[in-house]
């Protein structure tokens, strides 16, 4: 008989044993599954948010220059474009127009930006899925926005952004630069900020230092700094949740130990029979390990599946306010499914291995007892 066939026999026996004692296992299985569900939800949610953030930043310029007045961002004059373009290492400079638009009817604060290209005609907008949901508008329909004078201006929805990067576009309305200047009251000769392309990674901090000397009232924001901030922000939030749920994990291990240590009369009798008919300690342990592995794997898979549905179908209903931050308020955005295999392996290690270790010792104790003693106790 091959090793595989032998393990298959033990697996079948372990599965039958779990089903026989299902009422004893049920509360533990529910608790374990719930814990994996919570952990996996946090991991899925954080990973998806990070992925969205990375997608968002991939298209972002390497450096953004903003003018500050009294510590707040102000419009920046267009005459700064030429000196910035002359800095060695800078391949392209572009003035950007963007701002916020508060929609009174829905209470949402929307991002309005000028399109980079000429795909939009005057009076046309491209909107994010969150805006589309919020305003109930689809491609071809018309939306109305109030300009800085309080006058309503109508725009035809030429495009609704794809769901692929909803974190970046959920609350976005894009229009022509001229329409945006009228809507937000940005005068000609000014931009919201200036975007710079610097291909060489090693030159970016040097370029940033030169920008500060050329435009002293400005700040230069590097893309990698934003990326790091996002990562740290989401990691911090996820870490917070992990700490909260670590106490639950400790409770799980205590529960697992108690469960395994408190082997009932029926199970003692079964181990006693196995030993009486000649099973060796490692064979009994292999059987018990299979039992633990089946329980742990079932709970792991169950918890992961529930978490996947929770995060990617139900919008991470339970943890979104903490993990997404402001973005959860208005407008809502859906997370795009993204699974990171190393993270799954890590979760498996965190959720399953300690459980196997916690159940191993009590099982070994039972397996090492004399058959006569086990049968007597049963």
């Amino acid at each position: 008989m091959t090793l595989l066939a032998r393990q298959r026999r033990l697996f079948g026996l372990a599965l039958a044993a779990i089903l026989r004692h299902r009422s004893r296992h049920l509360p533990f299985v529910l608790f374990y599954t719930a814990l994996v569900f919570v952990w996996a939800s946090v991991v899925f949610c954080t990973d998806a948010l990070k992925r969205e953030a990375r997608l968002l930043l991939r298209a972002a310029p390497e450096i953004v220059v903003q003018r500050l007045v009294a510590g707040r961002q102000e419009l920046i004059a267009a005459h700064h474009l030429a000196p910035l373009q002359r800095i060695p290492g800078v391949s392209h400079v572009r003035g950007r127009l963007w701002g916020y638009h508060f929609d009174e009817a829905t209470g949402a604060n929307l991002t309005v930006a000028a399109a980079n290209d000429s795909r939009l005609a005057p009076g046309e907008v491209a909107i994010g899925r969150g805006v589309a949901r919020l305003l109930g508008a689809d491609a071809g329909e018309t939306i109305s926005l109030r300009d800085t004078h309080g006058d309503a201006r109508s725009f035809r929805v030429a495009e609704v952004f794809s769901a692929a990067s909803e974190l970046a576009t959920a609350d976005l309305i894009e229009m022509t630069p001229a329409d945006l200047r009228l809507l937000l009251g940005v005068p000609e000769g000014f931009f919201t900020d200036i975007a710079l392309r610097v291909a060489n990674e090693n030159e970016r901090r040097v370029v940033a230092a030169k920008i500060r000397s050329l435009v002293p009232e400005s700040r230069a924001i590097l893309r990698e700094d934003i990326a790091r901030t996002y990562e740290e922000l989401f990691d911090w939030r996820a870490g917070l949740l992990f700490w909260v749920f670590s106490s639950l994990a400790a409770a799980l291990l205590v529960f697992a130990w108690d469960q395994a240590a408190g082997i009932g009369g029926e199970e003692k009798r079964e181990i006693g029979i196995l030993k009486a008919v000649g099973w060796e300690i490692p064979e009994v342990l292999a059987l018990k390990t299979w039992e633990s592995l089946i329980i742990a794997s079932a709970c792991f898979l169950g918890g992961m599946t529930l978490a996947y549905v929770h995060v990617f179908s139900a919008g991470a209903l339970l943890f979104a306010p903490l993990l997404k931050g402001w973005a959860v308020l208005y407008p809502r955005f859906a997370l795009v499914p993204a699974i990171d295999p190393p993270q799954i392996l890590l979760l498996f290690g965190v959720a399953v291995v300690p459980y196997l270790a916690a159940t191993g010792v009590p099982c070994w104790r039972a397996a090492a007892a004399e058959p006569e003693q086990l049968l007597r106790q049963a």
Binding site: M1, R6, G272, I273, V277, G278, W279, L287, E372
Partner: protein
Amino acid sequence: MIVADRVTKIFNRGRPEEFTALSGVSLTITAGEAVVLMGPSGSGKTTLLSILGALSRPTSGRVQVEGREITRLPEKSLSSIRRRTFGFVFPQPHLVRGMRVIDNVMLPALPVREPEDGLRERAQKLLERLGLGCRARARAETLSSGEAQRVALARALIFEPKIVIADEPTAHLDTARASELIALLASLPAEGKTLVIASHDPLVAEAPFVDRILPMRDGRLLKPDLSP
């Protein structure tokens, strides 16, 4: 051959509830012999059987099985002896619920590296011999008490042990079922198997295949065993 030399077993030693179950029991059982340990509850029959069958270790004294002292053997060797040398029948069948009859018979051999087909064939033959061939695929919990005890006997015989140890095998059977089981046990010494039974059932004690009766009380043999 089984030789027990001044075997004593004390439970909960050093505690207020200390209890001496066996006190200096010596006996010799020759190969192919059928011996019945008789005595009331608490006389030490089950404890003596468990020590003779390597299910537990004595507090003091020695036990030899086929010339090999088993009292100081490591657990791994004891497991091997339990599997290959002994077959056990308990007062209750102790079948694993939810498992099929034939799988219960094969239980001792499940972790052993032995081809499944041969093992299954052997289990099926055993069940047929014990009149349960048609029940091989039934679930253990669907058997009557008599059938279950016969399955337990089949399980004890799966490795064709030299020694069969039966502890009150008829305790939970009515007279008809008990007689059936005794008839099955009776065939074992003829095959050269040694049979050690603990029972207070007269049906067992009076069975013609029994060579010797060893009466017990209060953890001692009432008559010293003078066998060679």
